[in-house]
Amino acid sequence: MEKTQVLVGLASCGIAAGAGKVYDKILDIRQAEKLDFSVKRTGCIGMCYREPLIEVIDATGSYLYGDVDENKALEIVEKHVKSGEPVKEYIVFTDLFKTEDNEFIEGQVKIALRNCGVIDPEDINEYETRGGYKAISGLVEGKVTPEAVIQNVIDSGIRGRGGGGFPTGTKWKFAYNSKSDVKYIICNADEGDPGAFMDRSVLEGDPHSVLEGMTIAAYAIGASDGVIYCRAEYPLAIKRLNIAIEQSKKKGYLGKNIFGKEGFNFDIYVKEGAGAFVCGEETALMASVEGKRGMPRKRPPFPAVSGLWKQPTNINNVETFANIPSIILNGPQSFNCYGTEKSKGTKVFALTGKIKRGGLVEVPMGITIREVIFKLGGGIQNNKKFKAVQMGGPSGGCIPEFLADTIIDYDSVNATGAIMGSGGMVVMDETTCMVDMARFFLDFTQKESCGKCTFCRIGTKRMLEILTRICEGEGKEGDIEMLEELAVHIKNTSLCGLGQTAPNPVITSLKYFRNEFEAHINNKKCPAGTCKKLLTYTVIADKCTGCTVCAKNCSVNAISGERKQPHFINQDACIKCGVCYNKCKFEAISLT
């Protein structure tokens, strides 16, 4: 009989929730009691809402435990590992019986995330036992031609997972056709879209799949150098990538004459980004790798012709590369059997916001937004009403509830005005103000604009001023029209994707939630109750018991009243912090 295995999810989010302590605790118990079971660290298991997660695999099957702390870990080791009796109340998923979290896992198809949460990301041998490096070694040993590799990628139908959606195989073909002695492969790991963390999870959970994907690309287009441009905000991802690169080099999977093939040289190094959203744009990214300000340039020439150091360069996103080894090893049909006519395969989404079960999900293209949110995600927190979902981050838009049956593929999502983007899905309920959301994104793009194009630099600032004004109750007639006019100009006169898509969150919000803008401007009201300056807190005299809690907690002494008498809020002094509303036990404060 195999030894019982305990896996602890140790990606950034697990660690943030306290998985490090749980891991140490389990190791301590094993040592102290000289127990015979193996403990393994692994990457993101995906159920962020249940972190820290540990999985126990014994002779009877696998059991995933959620919300584990040190005490629960002790109990699980005591009862399950030692005595073989699973602790049912902490189990969130198992093959053996149904749990309330079953739907989260069952609706998924894992290709890019095939190893995340399964293997130890810091051990190359574990990657290899799961078929790792078999794709690239198969190509080299079988003397498969680069053309055939590219054809396979084209046949799989995979499109760029960073958000652009350009067919990956076609991109490779362009780079292959460019004649040069030196070519580069770049992996874009500058995941800047706020609200998305798919790439981080892949890098932390399965770095070798990205390295293998890049090596296959190098084989196909004839590149000798690879760069992974990773956000400096992801220290754990950078650490694990560097470990993975070291291990691959030792095994001869990177370096000179890879897999014994004379002249097949490929090296990868990690370049840390320095915190600029615009560097996710490919030409800006290359400028940054060259040590310059990360500003985009005009295309053409495209990177496939003249990229890094003016040499042909192929840039793909982390998730795209992570899919490649599986496509090569299992054939294009293993990928394109999922999806719709024009969008094949699966896509990873980071499901966050006001959702019950937030986390990382990989679903086949063609599934509807509603299925993802209500089936996998379990619906909205606190049983509030679903209002909209934001897709595509600062370049995307808010898709309203009545369009929730839209299927997820590049073209259907584009038709709503949002974009597929890199995979952020931020769910909003009735208490989220759409004007405030539009302002939030404009604030972001305005700060991140590199300043090269006038309309992007100044136009976004003007749009932000107008939106701020509306949120503060100073909106004027004509503001909406001015926003629309500016949006058109910014889109038309910007060089790169950042500017061209910056107005999207405003345009879609105006399209679907115009009434909220009008309520802010004309009635000076925020229907969602978010915009502070438009709120009024008043005491409901009938309900107030005169307990004085509100008055004691008011930091600006705006509440007055005698003990056991109804209190009164002085509106001129009130700073609308909401403390009285939250502290009142009798629901005697009304918010309008």
Binding site: S12, G192, G195, E272, A274, R293, G353, G424
Partner: protein, 153 residues
């Protein structure tokens, strides 16, 4: 000062100007910020005008030109955190330590920075203190967390 930076510079060949960003990152890791002196030092080494180095350094959000506090607080203002109330979180931290984002408290104890997204969206709202994440923070838990750091003194 000179010798400290020299150790970092020696790791990078002087003729490769593409190493500018990694050099600045290493210096900031070491000193906590980029001082005028260190930028001039780099400029001499790479034979690059210091104006150009400042041009690059100010372009990226990561680089700072003032020293950090002993405990560096990063408040995440990503979309998921925003939807779950990170504005209030930021207000609360600012009130608690008495400085605004981008500043360092007078006693040098805390510095505060707003970051776009630290990628822990599943645990929103999140703050990080010296790289340690604190998940699902509330106004009450912030007080507790910060008091814990104060008590360590």
């Amino acid at each position: 000062m000179e010798t400290k930076i020299q150790g970092i510079l020696d790791r990078y060949p002087a003729e490769k100007t593409e190493n500018l960003i990694p050099i600045l990152q290493d210096i900031q890791d070491h000193d906590g910020f980029l001082s005028q002196e260190s930028v001039i030092e780099v400029s001499k080494y790479l034979k690059m005008p210091s104006s150009r180095i400042f041009g690059v350094a100010t372009f990226y959000n990561q680089f700072r030109f003032t020293p950090l506090g002993k405990y560096h607080i990063q408040v995440c203002r990503g979309t998921a955190c925003h939807v779950l109330g990170s504005v209030t979180v930021l207000d609360e931290v600012e009130k608690n330590i008495g400085v605004k984002a981008g500043q360092t408290s007078r006693d040098g104890m805390f510095s505060l920075e707003v970051v776009a997204c630290i990628g822990a969206c599943g645990l929103a709202p999140v703050i990080a203190i010296n790289g340690n994440f604190h998940a699902k923070v509330t106004c009450e838990s912030i007080k507790e967390i910060l008091d814990n750091y104060r008590n360590q003194e």
